[in-house]
């Protein structure tokens, strides 16, 4: 499988190589820059499809079975198993021999790999890649820098999802900030400087705390075992072994370490997700960012936060995830679902509306995740992909609208369906996917998240209110989305005045040198090509989500098993409860 290993390596490195090339070409060779960027995006997409296909063909049932039985309390939790690792050891294909920096007795490795969780986020990133290039086709100002930053951002995002070395993970994690900072700060809307600064400082403070948490967990493992390792699978395995230690002193040591690690990682990742009340950078950054920036921000970068929880927070601090994570994060998630939806409804700026809807949707992602059941975790992953597709799609559509009219105020629009029917159909479809209409992808994610929470609620006797409140999200989501559709698409035709160009922003300046009326036709073929893959995937994943669920199940089950073990340690009482409810179910089934 060496081919796949190199495919993974190229997938990550190709965009940044392209960035260097594009930057070197200078700002004058515009057409060449565009086509090179598009070519790179298509190659990356091809590599991602290849990896996905290869991954779907792997037989990982042994891992799934081991993880599932560990979740039921039989046997140890199997170690994370990244596939397609470049530089893999012949006897252990899940580890790499590519050392990078030696620190004392430990080595930071260039340790890349793909598992059932990361493959789908890589897939999502790659699918959105050509779209972000195509939507930026009309950028004129400092074009080489623009595409260079955009390409660099892709490497950073892809890198986060495939890193299995914790330092490498952190470097990619941090590296996402800088390109986006410049994309917002230079090519953004009227308040771009303020937005960029706020975005940077806010998320940077979060990441610094994440770093301290990362250092803390590495050092704690070193302290206890004398083994200095930066490999995420090994760290998770060490933590797993240590927290289950028979020695009460070791256990209490790890209790306090976990509390610290969990808090630090959580703050860092919660800013990224974002969880209420750490979200206020998001509407601003989204509104001010150029369309491609918004698409990457909403589509992929927010998932880096939730992915961090899944990849690091729960495996490295499983007990704390149950003790503090579940009550606190679940509560914040529910608040986020409702608060985001209510904030979204009364926005007049469509982009702001979509930004707030992200807060609501990510609340559901986090709630499903912190049900810490296999179903909820899978729903959470599914919903990450869905949200990336639908919100990415919505931002693309809003961008296309803005290119034509240079305004996004809902109150300026009406009956656009009759002016731009193709735009209307795409908007309708993607909006319906976003509110979770069955047959489209959002439904599967929502249902799985909620069913995960339901399983937790009724098996362990928690209060049903979080579930009920989260389920009302169905209503609120439809409320703001259908109101937006009605105002924008339906009713008598109403278009913003031809003079709505006052206060032209940077984005508008290069987007439309021509007069707005010349641009206000229906979608052009380039735009249809941009949107079509997203629309097709919304339908495909909605009708047949099983490939995603099946391929992610082993790795999801590992996370669920960490959580299940932690639950048994933290609340021995709940084990008894679980035991009885399981027997009830089993007896029901036997009859």
């Amino acid at each position: 499988m060496t081919g796949m290993n190199y495919a993974l390596l190229f997938l990550v490195l190709l965009p940044v190589i392209g960035a260097v090339v594009v930057a070197a070409l200078g700002p004058e060779r515009k057409t060449l820059i565009r086509w090179i960027s598009l070519g790179i995006s298509l190659v990356v997409l091809l590599l991602a499809l290849l990896l996905t296909a290869g991954f779907l063909h792997l037989d990982r049932t042994d891992l799934a079975l081991a993880a599932q039985s560990a979740g039921k309390g039989e046997g140890a939790v199997p170690s994370m198993r990244p596939e397609f690792v470049p530089g893999a050891l012949p006897d252990d294909p899940s580890s790499t021999r590519w050392d990078w920096v030696e620190i004392g007795s430990g080595t930071i490795q260039f340790y890349l790999g793909i598992d059932g969780i990361s493959i789908w986020l890589v897939f999502l990133t790659a699918v959105l890649f050509p779209a972000t290039i195509l939507i930026s086709w009309n950028v004129e100002e400092r074009i080489n820098e623009y595409f260079a930053w955009l390409l660099t951002l892709k490497t950073a995002m892809l890198g986060v999802f495939v890193s299995f070395d914790i330092v490498l993970f952190y470097i990619f994690f941090e590296a996402t900030l800088i390109p986006l900072f410049f994309l917002i700060g230079i090519w953004g809307g009227p308040e771009r400087r303020y937005a960029a600064r706020k975005f940077f400082i806010y998320t940077f403070v979060g990441s610094v705390l994440t770093l301290v948490g990362v250092v803390a967990v590495v050092l704690a493992c070193y302290d206890r075992t004398g083994l200095l390792t930066f490999s995420i699978p090994r760290l998770a395995a060490i933590v797993q072994e240590q927290v289950a230690s028979p020695d009460p002193q070791v256990r209490s040591y790890w209790q306090s370490v976990q509390a610290v690690v969990f808090t630090l990682l959580t703050v860092g990742f919660a800013v990224k997700v974002p969880l209420v009340p750490l979200h206020t950078w998001l509407p601003l950054a989204h509104v001010e960012a150029p369309t491609a920036g918004s698409v990457d921000l909403a589509g992929v970068l927010l998932k880096i936060g939730s992915y961090g929880f899944l990849r690091l927070c729960i495996p490295l601090a499983p007990d704390a995830s149950i003790q503090y994570g579940m009550p606190v994060l679940a509560a914040l998630s529910v608040v986020g679902i409702l608060y985001g939806a209510f904030c979204a409804y009364s926005q007049d700026d469509v982009k702001r509306l979509v930004a707030y809807s992200s807060i609501s949707h990510l609340g559901l992602v986090m709630l499903g995740m912190f049900s810490l059941t296999t179903i909820g975790l899978a729903g959470s992953l599914m919903q990450m992909v869905n949200h990336g597709l639908t919100t990415g799609g919505l931002f693309l559509l809003v961008g296309m609208l803005y290119d034509r009219y240079h305004t996004r105020k809902l109150s300026d629009f009406g009956g656009i369906m009759s002016r731009m029917p193709r735009f209307g159909v795409f908007l309708m479809l993607i909006a319906l996917a976003s509110v979770g209409l069955p047959g489209l992808n959002g439904f599967v994610g929502e249902v799985l998240c909620l069913f995960g929470v339901a399983e937790l609620t009724w098996k362990h006797g928690y209060s049903p209110w979080p579930l009920v409140l989260a389920a009302t999200g169905l209503i609120w989501g439809a409320w703001y989305t259908f109101t937006m559709l009605r105002k924008l698409l339906m009713g008598p035709l109403k278009e913003p005045g031809q003079h709505a160009t006052e206060g032209l922003t940077a984005a508008a300046r290069h987007a439309g040198e021509q007069s707005p009326s010349a641009n206000s036709g229906d979608l052009v073929p380039r735009e249809i090509v941009t949107l079509a893959p997203i629309a097709v995937l919304c339908v495909a994943l909605g009708v047949y989500p099983q490939p995603v669920l099946r391929s992610a199940e082993p790795d999801i089950s590992i996370v669920a098993a960490y959580a299940a073990k932690a639950r048994d340690r933290v609340t021995p009482l709940s084990m008894a409860q679980k035991g009885t409810s399981v027997t009830v179910q089993e007896s029901v089934r036997n009859r």
Binding site: E174, P438, W458, V468, G491, Y544
Partner: protein, 641 residues
């Protein structure tokens, strides 16, 4: 795969294929022939659903397609099932669908959205067929929402009209409220029984504790209340009349709104085990039936009268579904009565809506009964067909409505001798009163439209004319159904015997002969209603006006739909909007304000202590990263030593 397996797949597949062809090719290639793929598909579906009708009850076939979700202990497969109840629904849906599609060929001709209309219609019939073919509750929910989407799209078909846009949104949102409860019910069901398959759930009913069971039933019923427009979620259906009339006939009278009835009938084993839930179903049904009938008395929009009538008739069906509270032996008879009424109602109500559409077509889209009248000579065929529908709805012997309504009344009357007799007796009299009111308002609409002096609004531009054969023929078929289905299936017990083969009825009920008291009461109520209406609107045209002045308060209450829309506006919509604005401002100024304040403190301090700030974020990032790296290396090295 047996023949039946093939038929089960073909029935939903044909309309879907037709819909897809029309959606992608209609606008450019097919043009005014866009109806062809859908109509041909529907015709095929009707034939195959008749085959299912013949073969299904014997086999009780379940046919798997593919795994939708298979994860951990959640298994949802796309599994089609065929039993008597499904087959009966399938035939109704596809037959009415076909007739409505043919009618639409004439009604929608020349509309700029002609292809879109047929594509959405095909999608609806596909979704509705799948809804009744599903063999687990989650799949049912999937298509439950899908038919809701089609309803949304078709109500908002003329999206340029603000009223249509608002009605579409309202319909979807009100339905979502019910669906939210439905989904919670599914979750509770899944955690209770460990499965969502009909068979699995029904075979484990006795293992759930009664409180949980009641909760599950009531949550499912919440969904039914939304979809079937029962009080308090009935407010969307009258507004849904903004859609084209054939859509009102198909979706908002004959099929989609009966999905709630289908759901409760399908879940009979659950409801039978929970008398509390049944009683609530019966109570809501009876109350809605009466409430909607009272509102229908004073409306002037012909289609809205019919819409309230639909709400009222659906209420009667729910009354029957819940009537067997505490008497499991009665359940089969009561549920069959409800489904029988669903079946006959599909014919005569679809007929009435199509006839109303024909009137609208002739009147230049005017539907206010104050603006036209005396149309019986201008539209003789429409008049005759409307009359058949009206007689059937009013429950006049021997038309369809008479037999099914009689069965419902018999079931409720019999139930009122049981353990919950008090409440069911009230429900019985409410139902009798509803019968009387139904006959009255139906014939009020009939007399106002077709009798009296001939008046035609100027919107008709003097071209008011009878509809063509393409519209009249489907109405004729429906009229035959409205006239004869009752007589053919009712007194012969054919319908009951067929439906009783559905394997969801655990207890075989007793034989039920004709209840002469009920028969006479029902007929008397109907005749009285018609007679009174004739006296009011034909013999004494000034009387309603005098009565209106005399009973001003009551009239206003009915005319303004008991002010329920206004009440919801004040209680829910207003506060939610205010809360939303509060959240928006709170987020912008308070939450973000605090953040800015926190951000301002260090920079203010920095301005005091560190004048040479260069403002380059790269510089800060670099310094911070280097600092942290030094820190990490320092700590690691120290620890090693």
């Amino acid at each position: 795969m047996s023949d039946l397996d093939v038929a089960l797949r073909i029935v939903p597949a044909l309309p879907l294929i037709g819909s897809i062809i029309t959606a992608f090719l209609g606008h450019r290639l097919l043009g005014s022939k866009s109806h062809l793929p859908v109509i041909v598909g529907l015709a095929g579906s009707v034939l195959f659903s008749l085959m299912v009708l013949v073969e299904a009850p014997g086999s009780g076939r379940i046919s798997t397609s593919y795994d939708f979700i298979d994860l951990g202990n959640l298994h949802i497969n796309v599994v089609l099932r065929a039993d008597a109840l499904t087959a009966m629904m399938l035939v109704t849906v596809n037959l009415v669908g076909l007739l409505v599609a043919v009618y639409s060929r004439g009604y929608m001709a020349g509309d700029s959205g002609y292809a879109r209309y047929f594509a959405e219609l095909g999608l609806f019939v596909f979704s509705m067929s799948m809804l009744v073919l599903s063999s687990n509750f989650l799949l049912l929910y999937v298509f439950w929402e899908a038919v809701g989407l089609c309803s949304y799209l078709l109500i908002g078909f003329w999206y340029e009209r603000p009223s249509a846009a608002a009605a579409a949104r309202k319909a979807f949102l009100v339905n979502r409220i019910g669906d939210c409860g439905f989904l919670l019910g599914l979750m509770l069901m899944w955690t209770t029984f460990g499965t969502l398959d009909y068979d699995g759930v029904f075979s484990r009913v006795d293992q759930a504790d009664p409180a949980t069971l009641t909760a599950i039933c009531l949550l499912l019923f919440t969904g039914a209340v939304g979809k079937s427009a029962q009080f308090p979620l009935h407010v969307w259906l009258p507004d849904a009349m903004e859609g084209p009339s054939p859509v009102s006939a198909l979706i908002h009278a004959a099929t989609m709104v009966t999905a709630g009835v289908y759901l409760v009938a399908r879940s009979t084993p659950l409801f039978v085990a929970s008398p509390t839930a049944q009683l609530i179903v019966a109570g809501i049904g009876g109350f809605t039936a009466l409430l909607a009938a009272l509102i229908a008395l004073t409306q002037f929009d012909l289609k809205r009268v019919l819409a309230y009538s639909t709400v009222s008739q659906l209420g009667l069906m729910f009354l029957a579904l819940g009537a067997a509270a505490g008497q499991p032996k009665l359940a089969e008879f009561a549920v069959i009565a409800a489904v029988f009424h669903l079946f006959t109602h599909a014919f005569f109500k679809a007929l009435l809506f199509l006839a109303a559409g024909s009137v609208m077509h002739a009147m230049g889209d005017v539907i206010d009964m104050r603006r036209f009248g005396g149309l019986r000579r201008l539209l003789p065929w429409t008049h005759a067909l409307f009359l058949i529908g009206a007689l059937a709805l009013a429950g006049v012997v021997p038309l369809a409505g008479f037999w099914s309504k009689d069965e419902i009344l018999s079931a409720v009357r019999e139930a009122s001798h049981g353990p919950y007799g008090g409440m069911l007796t009230i429900c019985y009299y409410a139902a009798v009163l509803t019968t009387f009111l139904t006959a009255f308002y139906t014939f009020r609409a009939y007399f106002l439209t077709f009798w009296g002096e001939e008046r035609i609004p100027e919107e008709a531009h003097g071209h008011a004319h009878e509809s063509g054969l393409v519209m009249l023929a489907p109405m004729g078929v429906l009229a035959i159904g409205a006239a004869l289905t009752g007589l053919f299936f009712g007194p012969t017990h054919l319908f009951g015997e067929y439906l009783a083969k559905t394997p969801i009825f655990p207890v075989l009920g007793d034989e039920h002969g004709l209840d002469w008291t009920v028969l006479l009461t029902g007929t008397l109520a109907a005749v009285l209603g018609i007679g009174l209406s004739g006296w009011f609107y034909v013999l004494n045209p000034g009387l309603p006006e005098r009565l209106r002045r005399g009973l001003r308060g009551l009239y206003e209450l009915s005319y303004n739909r008991f002010y329920l829309d206004e009440l919801y506006g004040v209680l829910f919509v207003g506060p939610a909007t205010v809360l939303s604005n509060v959240c928006r401002l709170f987020d912008q100024y308070i939450v973000d304000g605090v953040v800015d304040l926190v951000g301002w403190v260090p920079s203010a301090l920095g301005r005091v202590f560190q004048p040479p700030q260069n403002g380059l974020v790269q510089y800060y990032a670099l310094v911070t990263t280097i600092g942290l790296a030094v820190f990490v290396i320092f700590v690691v090295l120290t620890l090693r030593g």
